[in-house]
Symmetry: C2
């Protein structure tokens, strides 16, 4: 069986080189006599694996020393609760920007624990843009403000130069699930960054959080031990058994990114891939992108055809030709191509060829 | 490199046949054109994987229809909070049996959310036995009573016929992390069972919970959405992205257990393996088991030598001979052999041979 081009929004394509390396050492890792899956998380051999993963990620993202990288579980959905539970003990006021379904879920969860102020929303136009964020919109006495940096479903993003770090005392908390390691951000702009692994980092079941250490020492009393950031900061992500294999695999992805030239190079390739597809969409008479130009994501590219029949026909024929998981989210309709770091340029080129051919024939 | 015999308490040895099968289909699963790790959790191909894993586990453990099997994250440590948060909304009283470090952690966490009554403890003798449990010890109006069925560190267990399901209205909640699928239990005796996967089920990062559905519809208001059992019951474990690869791998372990004859056969083999080692310890003049005979675990067998020097010498020589991770927990000292389902009979036989030789030479 040949491998397909997998445009899934997540879990999604992983670098073939990484998969093949992991496959080779799957049953026996180095001279350990066992699989990484069988290793005690307290063993020397595993300790070297998790420490290297942490160090490599720190290097790739240029994480300052006053931040701690955590390997957690539970996905962004668990972070939606962890963030307010860890930051709202004394000050209950927090600002949220609503740029899509995941922002909405984060908002709903935070409302259980504090006073949520939705400072801006793009729901009026099915989240096809990102509201322009200005300092006057935000509460300069809030405990934090929360943004979703890349909106997987709607295909918008907030790049580094638009992060609303307006007030020194209001840390920005960011859901970076679908564009972590895909474009550069200055970590100093943030108080907490979190990301589910299943898009750009590795297997589902691992969540990475990057926390400014001074922020996370005052959780609400009701916070479960496992949902306290300080539990994991103190224990170097080894308070209990972490998702050991997922961390190992993410570590291989980090090595792959370093070999490729780091996040700067990833961003260049991602800009090239997405530009190719956006250019095609802008010049097509049949296909149409759904997002305003200035807010277009590098990762998730939704597009539509003039009729539901053509959408369905396109998805069917694309699947038959090895371009899979192109169906868009039901709230947007049409198609969505998710082109994370692991999607090769060639995959996007071939998709565009296929789309051009489809346009000619329909 | 030859594979070693890995006596780790967890993560621990996995069946070699399962590792080899997973390795073969690691990069490309069936005719999907992708790795299981790359599959959307909403795709048809993955849906078949998770549904089969659930059905196989239901069959193996003979789970009644009014229970739901959940594939979760966060380990037993997260369950320590989930249990009280989901069961103590109206009635704050709960009973806990203290049989070791994990019971103590469960107790400490429950105290945040309710009134914990520790009905019995074996802490007086370093948890080397299980207190005899009788109905008069328990509160017949408690919201639930909690037991740890197998104590990984101390090597004791509560077998099926000693589960304290004394009152129809007091559900038993059980931590089965280190003996799930290793010995038979009647699921009807329990309200909730939970287990981290990293001993008998598969890779770390997956937690299995089996919940009686009528019990879990009334969580405390402060419970995070991801820590509500009903969130996951309603969504068939697909509320958010689950640890997809770990579930797939656990599914392969379930198939392996079914092929081997199910849990009855596993228990027979485990009784045989543990009896061999206990018999050796009982007849040895040098080695000594640390647990009272009637409470001995089938899974974790702690033992000691007369001096710290001999303990250290044994562990060193054992490691050199391919018997690894035999060091006991610091609170017990000495050695511990964890012999979960995946440890072959041959591994225990060879360990005993090695121990006999060590005894001859020391």
């Amino acid at each position: 069986m040949n491998r397909v081009y997998n445009f899934s929004a997540g879990p999604s394509m992983l670098p073939l080189e990484v998969l093949e390396r992991a496959q080779k050492e799957f049953v026996c890792y180095g001279d350990s006599g066992m699989s990484v899956m069988e290793m005690s998380h307290r063993s020397k051999v595993y300790d070297a694996i998790i420490k290297k993963a942490e160090a490599d990620l720190k290097q790739i993202m240029n994480v300052p020393d006053n931040y701690k990288i955590l390997f957690l579980q539970g996905g962004a959905s668990t972070q939606f609760a962890m963030v307010p539970m860890n930051l709202l003990k004394d000050n209950k006021d927090c600002d949220y920007v609503n740029t899509g379904q995941w922002s909405k879920k984060a908002i709903a969860e935070a409302k259980k624990y504090g006073n949520v102020n939705v400072v801006a929303s793009s729901e009026d136009k099915v989240f096809s843009y990102v509201p322009k964020l200005t300092p006057d919109m935000f509460n300069k006495n809030a405990a934090y403000c929360h943004v979703t940096l890349n909106n997987t479903i709607y295909g918008t993003h907030i790049p580094n130069d638009k992060v609303p770090n307006f007030f020194e005392n209001v840390p920005v908390v960011a859901d970076m699930s679908s564009n972590i390691l895909a474009e550069e951000y200055d970590i100093n702009k943030f108080g907490i960054i979190y990301a589910g692994a299943q898009k750009n980092l590795g297997p589902a079941g691992l969540t990475v959080a990057i926390v400014r250490e001074d922020l996370v020492n005052n959780p609400m009393d009701i916070t479960p031990t496992m949902l306290r950031y300080d539990t994991h900061v103190k224990a170097d992500s080894l308070y209990n058994t972490p998702p050991t294999y997922a961390i190992y695999f993410a570590g291989l992805v980090f090595e792959w990114i370093l070999e490729k030239g780091g996040i700067k190079e990833m961003q260049k390739i991602n800009e090239r891939k997405s530009k190719m597809l956006y250019d095609f969409l802008d010049n097509s008479k049949l296909f149409k992108g759904t997002v305003v130009k200035e807010d277009r994501s590098l990762m998730n590219i939704p597009f539509i055809l003039p009729t539901e029949e053509l959408n369905a026909k396109f998805i069917k024929e694309a699947t038959e030709n090895g371009f899979v998981n192109l169906k868009g989210h039901r709230t947007v309709g049409g198609m969505r191509a998710s082109i994370y770091n692991a999607m090769p340029v060639e995959g996007v080129e071939k998709l565009i060829d296929f789309m051009a051919n489809f346009e000619k024939n329909n």
